[in-house]
Symmetry: C2
């Protein structure tokens, strides 16, 4: 049985020491996040996830979900009971608004819970996980009546939500959707169409499911400017809040997937189902992006999650499994062989995982802070800058974070050798589950284009300039410190690559937009590398300061410094190679027509 | 249903034009490989694999193998009939020696068949695939009686073979095996122990299975110097060649794996099974390496195979699926959207796949030629150099080829977006099947150490110097040609990185062997990149020459030149980054002790 321990020490380090959450106590909601409360959330969430969710991960994968003839879906054994505990403990309410029954605490703490859940049981975490995006959309765009009807129940996890975008013929290109919404004349609409890949689309965890559905009203423009968002409950809700008639939405089938077997990925058929418009007609795309941005950050956390749990298991295996001898001579001469932990190639994979997971954790929690600062920072300037930087970071956290998360999960499977390939050990599941994170909520190619085609140019490049300034200032400050200077100097070179790549886009993308498309994925990875480097420099600074104060656990801080050094040694060099690839442009990439790709006999 | 077409045109290009197989007609066996025979083998093998094996790939994955209570194993529906056809067509005999019933043709043609089989159905290909290694070991080390008893039947595929190395507690570290071989006093031995991960260990395809088993005789040294190789038939063979008693070897269970479900991966229990020693006592490791080297080249071909079939399907999907518009304006304005083939990020993944599969094919077939030149080249010097270079290339073909093959298969799955994650489309199987290639027959970390710890230093570095000379000469020759010069100059820079990395090892590995271990994986990738670059330069030269002669299909040769350009643009830059990582040495990698890897609460 795979193991999982919530990384509570490292989480406290990021929350309390790196982000210094206490220093934001003057912001609304942050006053609830007292040091005691932070500790309690981290420890109790960690306990719940390790003790309740992790043990259901493998059995859930093996059993999967079952669709019955009547279209109902049963989740794997133990999921319903675990979900009861989740609801009763209020883990879903942490950073939801108080006016709808939430606890109103900073998103940093909500993200902590999301991470532990996604790590211990990704398929389980996705049931409430998709609800987060639906809640965000309703808060931002719903009518008062819609908010009152749905939000308290959804925040309390009595009802769960879904996001219905994709149809058989279109996922990325939402302008092509065919699902129709025809006015019933009473303010409601009749929704008809087929949606696919709907995570948690049907299940037995809650008495109601609230579907948020993109559809087209009659005569709507034939593009993304013609889509509207609708709320479509599985059971209609009576005026007194009780459940009424079963709505005409049903699960046609569940997909047989590579992983996340325990999450029911549904084909949903809407046969004139009753729905109500959320926000304005033909403005559905904006509402969709609210859901999507929340979901994308959630997926970035999942990339971290599967890397983390795979890493924990690989460490345990590497310390237990004995093969061969250390290159420098037997480490344990009395034993028949040394633990494989002594081999540099095993250590390389473990250090790579450690550097990624701790860096990505710091990044996700920093992004969570930005989510709040976007709304709550004291000055308009700070709010605007937070928004711009968060906008840039979102595709990086999702795209780079899941590309790297999958790579790390795969490497951790590699540590197990042949045993990693056998399902019994659980490593295969981590890889199979991680794989979806590069695909859903916009493939990583879409993330790269969101970053390079939309976010870079926003406000005349103000976001990326603010980002460069932030990183540059951190580097400048660190250069004056003997311990930090080598780290800062290494990061400075990678930052220069990032800046050069940005400049190359400015000079070459106008003349030929394919140059942007050809380099977008490279650029996203350069930015990921630099961003995690920035996180490592910040963590190193905190560690150095802490060590000066004779802390109780100096080894923890020394490990931070050593891992920062490893990061600079082994991650940063790729920035230069990626820049060179990017600067090759699109010529050789787009040179061949379709015939050249057909297999010739 | 996934598609597969054997890449016969590209294969003919490599065999006839790049390798110019006809020019070796003076070597023994090569005289059989007339242009007509080459064409026939390529076309008929391609047809067999596309028409018979490919259609069984997905159903085999879904059904898997079944172990019955009596320990017998049934392969998936259709496998037995397909195997009959394989045997009757004599595909296994192509490059086996004529004296044992083989056709004695060049290994290049045997590798062509291996590629098509591994691509169309990896799990099926592994049944005869493992036999190849067993045959090699018996040819090299078996007694005349053993050869006469087993080889004709194995070469004719009437019996299949296996390789039994791994035990529950040891895979890589074979010095620790516990399986015992006790003399029966009649020249035979009683073999007792448990072997795991035995591919094709039990099945219903042939009436007999010939196990080659590593075991220890009483009092043998407690290291790899104490292992011997035994041949242990499932059914004992009577003097007249008919089958006798069932031997005491049985399948205890079959593994539930991430992929290659249709290959029966067995736990084999030996309970005093009758076996005969192959070669000398305590010299089993050398015999094992003969099997292993054949198997490693076979696995490198599998890395190519899954990348190739995934690529073919991704191309078809990219031309069919419509989402969004080309960045340069609608490519097909009359349609609702353009095929995703127009998007640079999709093209990037397809070009990456094309550059890898064609390069790796050229490399594998060159290696096949070296297999023959090692034995058959006219001068001792040529034979020795071929052997040295083949020894260097083997871990690169296996290690780099499967790392990259898995990456390509994953990217091809990515082209499908959400549909790639659903098993129905078959892309998940390609990724799951490809994953094992990085693990078995020595993990890729083991390949890296074989390359850097053993092969680099052999004969005072004569092999790597010969390799550098070969590549350097190709570059020098190409620099005089206007078309080829830019390719050659790019490759020259990557070669310089390779040489610098080699030099760094020479200067830093003696003082601290961990510096070698820490950089071995980087080095293997640098060499992979340079080696495929060398293949691309050779292919570009052939294409350029062909174009000058007004060939029938100029587009084929133009595509070779364009893909060579892409390769130099987009693969070579990594060589520099990998060198920088390698030169960071082992300090930061090995800085932390095991406590630092334990998750702290």
């Amino acid at each position: 049985m795979p193991i999982y321990t919530a990384p509570t020490r490292d989480t406290r380090f990021v929350v309390n020491e790196m982000l210094d959450l206490a220093s934001y106590g003057n912001l609304p909601g942050f006053e609830h996040a007292t040091p005691d409360m932070i500790d309690t959330v981290i420890n109790e969430a960690g306990k719940f996830c390790a003790e309740v969710l992790a043990p259901l991960n493998k059995s859930g994968d093996e059993e999967g979900c079952t669709r019955h003839e009547d279209g109902s879906v049963t989740t794997p054994k133990g999921f319903k009971e675990a979900f009861e505990q989740y609801r009763e403990s209020g883990w879903g309410t942490i950073s939801s608004p108080e006016e709808f029954g939430g606890q109103g605490m900073p998103h940093v703490l909500g993200f902590v819970v999301e991470e532990f859940m996604a790590t211990s049981n990704q398929a389980f975490a996705m049931y409430p996980g998709l609800t987060t995006g639906a809640i965000s959309a309703l808060i931002a765009k719903g009518s008062d009546e819609q908010k009152a009807t749905y939000l308290p129940k959804m925040i309390a996890a009595e009802w769960l939500g879904t996001m219905n975008l994709t149809e058989p013929h279109c996922g990325t290109d939402l302008g092509m959707i065919r699902t129709k919404a025809e006015p019933n004349g009473d303010g409601s609409y009749a929704i008809t169409g087929t949606k696919i890949f709907i995570s948690a689309g049907e299940h037995d965890l809650t008495e109601n499911i609230i579907h948020l559905v993109l559809a087209k009203t009659p005569g709507a423009p034939d593009s993304t400017k013609g889509i509207s968002l609708f709320v479509v409950p599985k059971f209609l809700v009576n005026d007194d809040g009780s459940l009424g008639d079963r709505n005409a939405v049903s699960c046609g089938s569940i997909e047989h997937k590579m992983g996340i077997h325990a999450n029911s990925t549904c084909v949903l058929n809407y046969d004139g189902a009753k729905g109500w418009m959320v926000g304005e007609e033909n403005k559905g795309l904006a509402a969709m992006f609210i859901m999507m941005n929340a979901a994308r950050l959630g997926v970035g956390i999942q990339g971290l999650g599967q890397a983390e749990v795979a890493y924990q298991n690989a460490v345990a295996y590497a310390l237990d499994r004995r093969q061969g001898r250390a290159l420098t001579g037997p480490a344990e001469p009395e034993a028949k062989a040394d633990p494989i932990f002594v081999h540099p190639d095993v250590r390389r994979m473990l250090m790579d995982a450690k550097a990624f997971t701790e860096g990505q954790r710091a990044l996700c929690l920093w992004a969570a802070l930005l989510v709040d600062l976007t709304h709550k920072a004291p000055t308009e300037e700070e709010r605007a800058e937070s928004d711009l930087i968060l906008g840039l970071l979102t595709p990086v956290i999702k795209g780079y974070g899941t590309d790297k998360g999958y790579e790390v999960a795969t490497n951790m499977q590699q540590v197990f050798g042949g045993h990693g390939y056998v399902e019994e050990w659980g490593m295969s599941q981590f890889v199979r589950d991680a794989r979806i994170t590069q695909i859903y909520e916009g493939t990583n190619g879409v993330q790269a284009m969101d970053l390079c085609g939309r976010k870079l140019a926003q406000n005349g490049g103000a976001g990326i300039q603010a980002f460069f300034k932030l990183v540059g200032e951190e580097i400048a400050a660190a250069k004056g410190d003997e311990t930090l200077a080598p780290l800062a100097e290494a990061l400075e070179k990678a930052l220069a690559q990032h800046q050069a790549a940005t400049m190359w886009f400015m000079q070459n993308a106008m003349a030929n937009p394919n140059n942007l498309g050809a380099g977008a994925h490279n650029y996203m990875h350069i930015m990921g590398i630099v961003t995690l480097g920035y996180m490592w420099l910040r963590m190193a600074k905190v560690a150095k300061t802490a060590l000066a104060g004779s802390p109780d656990d100096p080894a923890f801080y020394q490990a931070k410094l050593a891992t920062a050094r490893y990061y600079m040694d082994r991650y940063l060099p790729d920035a230069g190679a990626l820049r060179r690839k990017l600067e090759a442009g699109s010529d050789s990439m787009m040179a061949l027509g379709e015939e050249a790709f057909q297999t010739a006999a």
